[in-house]
């Protein structure tokens, strides 16, 4: 595991960005992601939507996990694992581009589950 100080804002930008053919929209407290190339759309439930929002907004994993901790009562390590797993699944589905330095962190999670649908 990378032991860099991830609390420092990274000038490289947010943890993830929405992939080029994908658009997002809110449905109550959920998020719908549409891949406009394939016409496939995915729904993220409320916690998944919050995680994605934070991944798109925060520049460090630590910041994102801390913000998640304010929303959900759970161990930071569990939140971190859940966040990485979600990013892995969305990345595997081509819905988001994960920042290059995080790619190694999400690789183990990438093969575990099919993308959400």
């Amino acid at each position: 595991m990378d032991d860099r100080d991830q609390s420092q804002p990274d000038p490289a930008g947010p943890l993830a960005t929405v992939a080029e053919p994908v658009s997002l929209t809110r449905v109550v407290d959920e998020t719908v992601l549409l891949d406009s190339d394939s016409g496939v759309y995915y729904g993220l439930n409320a916690s998944g939507a919050d995680m994605l929002d934070l991944a798109l907004a925060k520049n460090s994993l630590t910041e994102a996990v801390a913000a998640l901790g304010e929303l959900y009562e759970a161990d930071a390590s569990d939140l971190r694992a859940d966040l990485l797993e979600l990013l892995a699944r969305l990345s595997a589905a081509g819905l988001i581009d994960v920042r290059a330095d995080l790619a190694r962190d999400i690789e183990p999670a990438a093969g575990r589950q099919a993308p959400p649908e």
Binding site: T25, V27, V28, S36, D37, G39, G43
Partner: protein, 413 residues
Amino acid sequence: MTLSQRQGDRRRQSDVTRFPQRGAGVLRELFSGRAPAWPDLTLAESEELLAALEYHGAAPLAHEAVCRGGASGVPPEVIDRLHRAHLSTAAENQVWLAERGAVLDALHGAGVTAALLKGAALMDTVYSSPGLRPISDIDLLVSPAQQATTLAALKERGYERAVTDAGPFEHHVLLHGTGAGGMPVAVEVHRRLFASPPYDAVLPTDDLLARAERGEDGALRLAPADALAHLAGHLVLQHARGERLVWVADVDRLVRRHGHEQDFWSGAIEVARSSMLLRSLGDALVLATLWFATPLPDDVAAVLDAEPPMPAEAAAYARMRRRAPVGAEGDRLLSDVQGVSGLAAKLRFAALHLAPPPRTMREWYGLDRSWQLPVYYARRALRGLAHIARRPFRAGSSGALESPELWMIDHDA
């Protein structure tokens, strides 16, 4: 789920067009911000209610209201169905929004002034989320002088006319295209707001475009007072006895968005009065208050209650409310002819519809041999006469006028 699967689901939807009475009651409370207890419905009743909600384009609204804690005891399978409708509408509307932007860019590039109408105008301005308002096409109002340029620009973008020659009397032209992800999309280019006389002559297009307002997104939309009059006429007259709840929701959201603005109500009443839509405006607002508890200022209600429509409007209203549904074209033509002023104009109007130009006939009926033309003219006339002959036996063609709110509910269910 893919957009094309969703389109297929929509085509398979049942034709439940009216709300069962018990379900309608709970929906009204739900949409009005009260917190009703969900009724104990049988599976068939529940299915009928959901099918009606989908037909009326109101499933996303119901889902949002339920999520906001608007009803207790809603069965999980009902929530799941509403949820899926909401998600898919939200996904589809992302395609529609992108397509709308591309179409407006193409028209702007061609020098066309086009105003968005109905759902395409309202989905992201008066609704809190675009996913709440399903749309089936992008309605545009374009000056008759710019129709040809508009159609050429849309053709350039890959759109094809559903019917190449829509005839000289059509108030809009329908074009089909393909949006992102292969989703079928459609554009309706309107040369005027209403099809039937005398409403084809009210609210001239160039005046509406001159008053239209440009939004933050750069798109042109009807001025709010004009938009309300249009929504009212579209709901109460153009789709008489085929009203859909989503159009009532449009009225509600537009009023909630603009009702506090100075001159909105006086402007809307003035537009409605001058375009023979005063009673339609009153009906539309009654529907909106009934289903959505739309806030209506007392003085506006008083004006609409106190001011009876002029005789010409009353006659036009009655004729439109009794007009035959789409399909009984001869019957509809008879209604429309009655709305034309002057004998010569009536005859011209009837002749044009009964005997459209040969080019139009060939397109409509797929005629490729010269001998077919007279046969199909005769067939068209005979079918029209048959519709007219059946008119006395058609429900709603005579007798007392039923209020629009009665037509959306199945009182026998």
